[in-house]
Amino acid sequence: MSEKVNIICRCEEIQIEEIRHWINKGYTNLEELKRILRITMGPCQGRGCRDIILREISMATGKPISELNTGVIRPPVKPIKFSLLAEDN
């Protein structure tokens, strides 16, 4: 396998080319790209990649970022150790 160079989503090791490939196929919503490529679903929950991906979608569609669906950030807001959760109970 060739080495990945232009990695945008570090958690899921996804390159900019892969993101552009699916945007060009018509998947211009972050909700869709997220599900095809797992981007924004890693341990950082998209903190490291969401903005760059939204910029790509904005460039491809001509829509400003403020008009794009930015996806849902799901709880917990910060990762918590299972052992701590179990103690709470």
Binding site: H21, K25, N29, E31, E32, R35, I36, R38, M41, G42, P43, Q45, R74, P75, P76, P79, I80, K81, F82, S83, L85, A86, D88, N89
Partner: protein
């Protein structure tokens, strides 16, 4: 307003709608699919991604066997470049009571009679094979090593993408507002954006939303939503932990192909209405305590994400696949928490029924009239 026409309309871009669109388009039929949001945004994309051949009724087993025949080569067949993450790490039903184990044994006997390689394990056999599991108090389990996992989102989206490649019109972000009927026959649909589409055959595969949609033409489909929760951990080293379903409190867990762990658990107090996609705080602590005592090795691992989704429940926990009393209107819904894996067989039988072919399995048990007739069809292997 211009009215568009097609041969078949499908409402709902879950796995069943998308698989049916794929089967129809591949066979050369003209089909249009409407989805409110993105493909897989309903129950399909929110599911636990489990697939199994552990059922206790012949028709479900027949279809489950077919699903397992399709999955290993489906990624290649659909050929979309999406990774379906199909894995066969097994699926285990763990019994804590005699009556539970007796039922599992009955199910396994039926499975074996249909050449499904299921087995009953003793607690010692389980301990030997999976030493990291601490299943205190169990008396046995049913296991099938062919069962496993598939990515529910790419599965659904790949069916939709492949359908579009064969010429299906796939309209995402296009909610259907109501159905149209004329002289006792289905006529078409109207979308919320005001588009009108006509077709002589319409399939509703809208999960729990099938009921309100069918009601717009006076048809009652007894399916209702029931919220279920799941959480996912950060990835850890992959050790192929199978799906483990504990029949004492309904907790389950498994490792996913990317190393993350998924936990879920039943909760009778969860809301049963549409539009309730929030998260339960109570779930998080409860499921964690229940699962950690069975797999303590995960105690230092972090939970990353939690979500919920609607089960599409019927009174007897089985699907409804049938024509409705309104000519030309068909439904496929009510899979009651085990419908993701039935995408391949569900898509095939719906295509067969829609075009007037004989379905490859006898669907009598899934008929709509069973509720009115009081002839319910209970699936014993239900979670």
């Amino acid at each position: 307003m211009t009215v568009k026409t097609t041969d078949f309309i499908i409402v709902g871009g879950g796995v069943h709608g998308c698989a049916t669109a794929y089967e129809l388009a591949k066979a050369g039929y003209k089909v249009t699919l409407f989805e409110s949001r993105y493909l897989s945004s309903g129950g399909s994309g929110r599911s636990a991604a489990g697939l199994r051949q552990h059922f206790g009724t012949e028709v479900n087993l027949h279809m489950a066997k077919y699903n397992l025949k399709v999955f290993p080569t489906l990624e290649e067949e659909l050929d979309t470049g999406m990774d379906l993450e199909f894995r066969q790490w097994g699926y285990m039903w763990v019994a804590y009571t005699d009556s539970c184990l007796d039922q599992l044994k009955k199910n396994v006997a039926l499975q074996k009679s249909m050449d499904i390689p299921s087995v009953i394990f003793t607690p010692d056999e389980i301990h030997e094979r999976w030493p990291y599991l601490r299943l205190d108090g169990i008396i046995g389990a049913a296991f099938c090593g062919e069962d496993g996992h598939i990515n529910p989102q790419t599965l659904t989206m790949a069916y939709g993408e492949a359908a579009a490649r064969y010429g299906a019109v796939v309209k995402t972000y296009t909610p259907v507002q109501k159905l149209l009927a004329e002289n006792g026959k289905i006529k078409g649909v109207v979308t919320e954006s005001g588009e009108e589409w006509h077709a002589p055959r319409v399939l509703l595969a809208a999960g729990p939303h099938t009921r309100p949609l069918a009601a717009t033409v006076g048809v009652d489909i007894p399916v209702y939503p029931e919220r279920h929760n799941i959480l996912i951990s950060e990835p850890v080293e992959v050790f192929n932990c199978p799906m483990v379903l504990c029949l004492d409190d309904g907790a389950y867990f498994k490792q996913c192909p990317n190393g993350t762990f998924m936990f879920g658990r039943d909760d009778q107090d969860e809301p049963r209405d549409l539009g309730n996609e929030g998260n339960s705080v109570k779930f998080l602590a409860g499921v964690t305590a229940s699962v950690l005592k069975r797999i303590p090795a995960l105690s230092g691992v972090r939970v990353v994400r939690q979500w919920s989704g609607p089960y599409d429940v019927t009174e007897d926990h089985n699907a409804i696949i049938d024509w409705t009393p309104l000519e030309g209107l068909m439904v496929n819904c009510g899979w009651s928490g085990h419908g993701l894996q039935f995408g391949p067989s569900g898509g095939r039988v719906c295509k067969e029924m829609l075009v007037g072919e004989q379905a490859f399995v006898d669907l009598h048990r899934f008929r709509l009239a069973r509720f009115a007739e009081g002839d319910l069809f209970f699936e014993p292997a239900f979670i």
